[in-house]
Symmetry: D2
Subunit: 347 residues, 4 copies
C-alpha cells in the first residue's frame, strides 16, 4: 500500500491517495471518524482554538461500502482558516519551523499560510489512511497501540505488557498513569501561559506480527521500514527500537533476550530487542519510541531574518498554536505504525 | 545510487553492486583501502582474532581507473573462516542475534556459519561503497565525519563544532577526547575478560549539504532517508537527529534555533534541529547519533531453544567475537551517511 | 514526477495525484482545458453521446497560480452517468473488456458501472497530468506531438519530419492528410452503423530531448520507460520504436542510421532507430507508434458467461460507446509521452 | 525479485545480483547451464567466432545447494577477448550501436571494448537469472516458451497452441517449422557473405499464470511490467501483445474473445488479447511478440563521425560479429519473460 498525503493548511482541501488497498474491505467509517477525533483540536484548553471539520469523503476506491482495490482518494475539506494571521511571517521564517528550508526548496513558491504543506493539519489524512490500515491489520490479528511516554521530562508509567494499552486510546489524554498525565497537562498549561511549548515522547507497540518478516538488508529491515513512516510524522526527531538509547549503557548479558518455550511457542524472556533481531521480526511485540520536538510555533519574540532584505529582525508569531502536540500525535504515530505494518506484511 | 550488499560470512566472497555511480570519477583505491582498514579487525586486543583480507576487486563499472557509470560490482574474497565453530549453534539460536528470526524467515535455509548474511563482516562492502560515495561527495564539498560518542555509559567530549572531527578518522580509537577513549577501552577489556560485551553510540556530522534538499513527505524527508541507510547497519537500534531524545525535556524557546546572518549567509545560532527543518536541510551541518546494541555474541552461557526438538537448552558460543563493535562501526556509520547524502543530492 | 490516477466512471470524481512537480511553474489552465477538450466526447457523431464535464479543480499543490512543489491533486467531477445501463452486465462480463479479469482480481468488489476504474473516462486526469508535464517540458524546449497513423487499415500520410505535426493538435480529427482522415471517419461511421468498432494506431514524436538520457539497463532504458507509460493507456497493445516491426524485414545496412555533421552537430541521416541507441537517446527525435485495439464495447450480441451460475449466455451491451477511440486517444498518448519524457529528464 | 546485470564485454567478469530470491529453492545448475548453452556462440557458422566460457559461479545466496533468500550474485568470467579489434572505433561510433549515445551519456568514460556494457554478452547473466526464475515458476506450474516467428521476412508456422512449443527449446534453431528455419538460416548466411546482418521477431508464451494478476494502472499493468523487462533485451524495438499491430486493421467483433466454459472453467474461444484484459491476466496464455533490429555491427563500410575532430569519416568494423542474433535471443527473451512473470506473481 503506497500513500501520498496532499494539501495545504489553508488550501481548499487536504487528503490522501492510497494505492494497493486490498479489495473487499468493508470500511468502518465510524472507526475512521473516531481516530480523527483523537487527533482533533479543541478538545480542551491544551490545543489550538482552530475548529477543524475532519469529515472524510471518498472520491474513489470505495463501492457499496467496500474497497475496490483501485486507488482510493480520501478528502477532508478545510475551513476556519485565518490566513491573514500569516502574512506577517511570509518573509520572516519562524525558527525551527519548515518555513525557511521550504522557502529555499521551493524557490519561494510555497504556500506559507498556516504552515502550508508543513502544517500539523496534514496529519489528519495520515490518520485516515492509518485507520484504514488498522482495519486491514485487524483482520490479520495485528493491533497497534501507543501512549505518551513522557512530556517535558515527566514520565508515564512503564509499559510492561502490551495489554496495558487497552483503553488508553479512548482517554482524552492517552497515558497509562492518569496521575502522571495530570502533571504533564499542568506542565503544558504552565508553558502555554508563558507563550512557550514543550516536547515529549510516545511509545508504540505492534502486536500480532508473525516472526520472519523483514531482512537485514537496506530497504528491507524492519527498523528502516518503520523509521521511514515514523519520520514522516512532523516533529519526530528520534526513532528508538526496544531498549534504544539505553543499549549504549548495557552489557550483552543484560541486553540479550533469552529464548524460552511458552505454550509450545518460542518466545523471549525479555524484549529489549523490541521484537526485532537482525532486521527481522522475532514474533515478540514490536516496541519503539519516538521523540517529538517542542512545537516551534511559540508566541515569545524570536530572532529571524527578513528574506527580502537579508537583514536580521525580531518576530512575534500570532495565530493559534498548540503548546504541545504530543498527546494529539499519539493516533498519528499509531497511523504511521499501521501503514508500516502493512508494508512489512507485503500489503 | 542504489546499492545491494551480498555475501555470507563463510561464503566464497562478499561484495556490493552499485547502480547509478556517476561516470568519470577517478577512483582513489588507496582511500577505499584506508576506509576498510579503519573497520578491519585485529588492530588490537579489542577485536575478534579473525584475520580478514579486505582487498577490493572491481568486476565491472571501472575502466582505465575511472567509473563508467554502468553497474559497479566490488568483491572482497573471504578467508580464514572457522566454519566448524558454528555447527553447534545451527539449531540453537543465539539470543538477540539474527539466527532465530533468520531461520524462520528463510524456512531454515539460511547460511548459519559465522552469522552468514547477518555477519558484521558484511559491513566491509558497505564501507567500500561508502568510500566511493565519499569521493563523489568530496567533489561537491560535502564531508562526512564521526566519532564514538559513548561506550557503556562513558561519554566522549561534546562535539561543539564539526572541525573537531578533523584527524579523528586517523585515530585507532576514534574519539575526540583520548582520555575518555582510554576509559572506554578499559571498559571493553573488562567486559571481554568476563566473556561479555558492551554497546555504545556514534555521533556523525555531514557538512556542505546545501539548504533546500528533501521534503516533509513520506519517502522524501531527510530523516527518513538517512534512517533507512543507518538502520541497515547491524546493531543500530536508535537514530536521533539534532537534540534527539533531549527534545522530550525541552521547551520551544530552548529548542528553537534562531536565524542570524553571518558573512552574508543565513545561518542558525544553535543547531538543535541537526540541520533539518520540516524534513528539509537548512544549510547547517547535518548532525545525528546512532545507538548500537551490545554485540549479542558473548561467551557466557545463555538460554536458547533447540529448533529441532522445541526444547529449552543452554548454549555457549565459541568462535571469535568482538566484545564491542562501536569503534569498528564508526567508518560503517560514515559510509551509510555518505550513501544517504548521495541519495539526498539525487546521485 | 510520480502520478496516481484515481476514480471510477460513475463515482463522484476522478483525478490524479502528482508528486514531484517542480515548484514555481505558472500553470496555464487554459492549455490544460484545451488538452482535455481534445479528448472530450460529443464533438461529433463519431463518439459516445455521454456529455462530460471536464473542469479541473486543484485541491493542492498550487498557490497564487503557481505550483508549490508539494503533491498536486487535480479533480474532475463526474456527471451525466447512466448507471442503470450497466446493471445487466454486472455478472456477465463483456468480451475483451476488463470486466472479467477485474472481477477475479478484486474478488468481485470492483465498481462495474460504466467500466469503473477501467473506463476510458480515466484518461481525462491522465491528459490533465500530461498537460502539466508539457508545460514543464516547454521550458526545456521539449515538444510532444502525435497523429493518427492508421484506422482500420487506412493509413495517414507518412511523417517525414516532426514539423509536419504543427497544427495537427488543433484539428478535430488529428491526421496529416485530411483526405485520409475523411476515409477513416467514413470507416468508423460504417462500423458504427453495424454496431461494431475499429482499432488503429497513433504515431508520436518527442523533439528536443538531449542525447545521453537513459541507459541500456533494466528500469533505465528509454524504450522501457516510455512503454510503461504508454501501456497504461487503455487499449494500447503494441509499442513500437522507430522502424519497429519493420526491423524484422530489414538488413543492418538498411536499418543503420549513418552519422553526419549538420550545423556543427552530430546527427543521423535517417532515424530508423527512433532516436534511441542502446537504450539511450541519441539526440534525434524520439519516434514511436502505438496500436490500439478496437473498443471492446460493441452492441452486437456476444458470448459471455454468467459469473453467478457459471453458465454460458449471450449478452447485448447497452449504454453509450465509442465505435473508435483512436482519434480521442491522440492527446492521451501525448500525455503519456510527456510524463515519460519528464521521467527521462529526471523530473 | 530485483535484478541488476553488471559487467563489460572485455572486463574481468559479468554477472547478475538478484534480490528477493525465495529461500529454499534447490538450484538445478545443469538447467542453468543448458539455458546458457542455448544462447552460446560458436554452435554453427551463423554466429560470432568468439568462444565464451559461460560457467556460472555463485558468490552468495546459495548454501548447501539451495537458495538462502539473501542477495544472490552469480558471476561468469570473461575470456577470449580481442580488445585490440576495438581500438579503431573508440572515437568513431558505429551507426545504430550504443557507442555514440553511450559516449555522450558517460562523458566519454564508457568501456568501448567489445561494446562494453552494451554488448550482447551481457545477456548471459540475464539468461542465468531467467533460468533461476524458470525454476521458481515451475514450482507454480508456470512455463515460458518461445520460437523465432520471423527472420528477414521469412515466417515460421503460426503458433495455434502453446503445446507446439514443446521440444523447440532443444532445437539448434528454435522454430516450429524446420523447413522455414532452413530458409531463415540460408538468408542469414547470404547476408553474412555480403558483410551484412538481418533482424527478426520472436513470439513468446507464458502458460499457467492465474487470472487476476495486474491492474490497469501505471506501473501495475501486465503489458507495462512485461515490456520493461523485454525492452531491456538489446535490439528489441517492438513489444506486441496478442494480435498486436493487427488490431489496427480489426473490428471489435473480430478482435473480441468470447467467453466460454470448458471443463468447468471460464476461458475465451480465441486469444487475440494475448491473455490480458484491462491490464490484468484473464487466465489464458500470455502471448506476445518482440521485434529485434538487425545487428548494427556489419563489416560493410559505414558513415560515422570522429568524436575528437567532429569530422565525418568512413569506418569499417573488424571484430567478430553475429549476422543475426534472433536465434540466440530466444532464451534471452524467455529469461526476460520469466523474470517478468515472477514480478507479476509478487515474487
Amino acid at each position: 500500500m503506497k500513500h501520498v498525503i496532499f494539501g495545504e493548511s489553508h488550501g481548499s482541501a487536504i487528503g490522501v491517495t492510497l494505492e494497493g488497498v486490498p479489495a473487499g474491505l468493508e470500511l468502518d467509517c465510524a472507526q475512521i471518524a473516531r481516530e480523527l477525533a483523537r487527533r482533533a483540536t479543541g478538545k480542551n484548553s491544551l490545543s489550538t482554538a482552530r475548529k477543524e471539520s475532519d469529515a472524510v469523503t471518498f472520491l474513489s476506491g470505495v463501492f457499496e461500502g467496500k474497497t475496490t482495490g483501485t486507488p482510493l482518494t480520501a478528502v477532508i475539506q478545510n475551513s476556519d482558516q485565518h490566513s491573514a494571521d500569516y502574512e506577517a511571517i511570509r518573509y520572516t521564517p519562524r525558527p525551527s519551523h519548515g518555513d525557511y528550508a521550504g522557502y529555499i526548496q521551493s524557490g519561494g513558491h510555497l504556500d506559507y499560510r498556516g504552515g502550508g504543506h508543513f502544517s500539523g493539519r496534514l496529519t489528519a489524512p495520515l490518520v485516515a489512511a492509518g485507520a484504514i490500515a488498522k482495519q486491514i491489520l485487524a483482520q490479520r490479528g495485528v493491533v497497534v497501540g501507543a501512549h505518551i511516554s513522557s512530556i517535558y521530562g515527566i514520565n508515564d508509567a512503564s509499559l510492561e505488557d502490551p495489554t496495558q494499552l487497552q483503553g488508553v486510546a479512548e482517554k482524552d489524554f492517552p497515558v497509562l498513569d492518569d496521575a502522571a498525565g495530570e502533571q504533564m497537562q499542568e506542565a503544558i498549561l504552565a508553558v502555554k501561559a508563558e507563550g512557550d511549548s514543550v516536547g515529549g515522547a510516545i511509545e508504540c507497540v505492534v502486536t500480532g506480527l508473525p516472526a520472519g518478516l523483514g531482512a537485514p538488508d537496506f530497504g528491507c529491515n524492519v527498523e528502516g521500514i518503520f523509521s521511514q513512516y515514523l519520520f514522516s510524522v512532523p516533529a519526530v526527531k528520534t526513532v528508538d527500537f526496544g531498549a534504544g538509547v539505553d543499549f549504549a549503557m548495557m552489557r550483552g548479558s543484560e541486553a540479550n533476550d533469552p529464548f524460552l518455550v511458552r505454550d509450545g511457542k518460542i518466545v523471549t524472556k525479555t524484549n529489549y530487542a523490541g521484537g526485532i533481531n537482525g532486521g527481522i521480526t522475532n514474533g515478540m511485540p514490536l516496541v519503539f519510541e519516538v521523540t517529538l520536538r517542542p512545537t516551534p510555533s511559540i508566541s515569545l519574540p524570536q530572532e529571524s531574518v527578513d528574506l527580502r532584505t537579508g537583514e536580521e529582525t525580531e518576530i512575534e508569531i500570532n495565530g493559534r498554536h498548540d503548546p504541545c502536540i504530543v498527546h494529539r500525535a499519539v493516533p498519528v504515530v499509531e497511523a504511521a505504525a499501521a501503514l508500516a505494518s502493512c508494508a512489512l506484511l507485503g500489503i
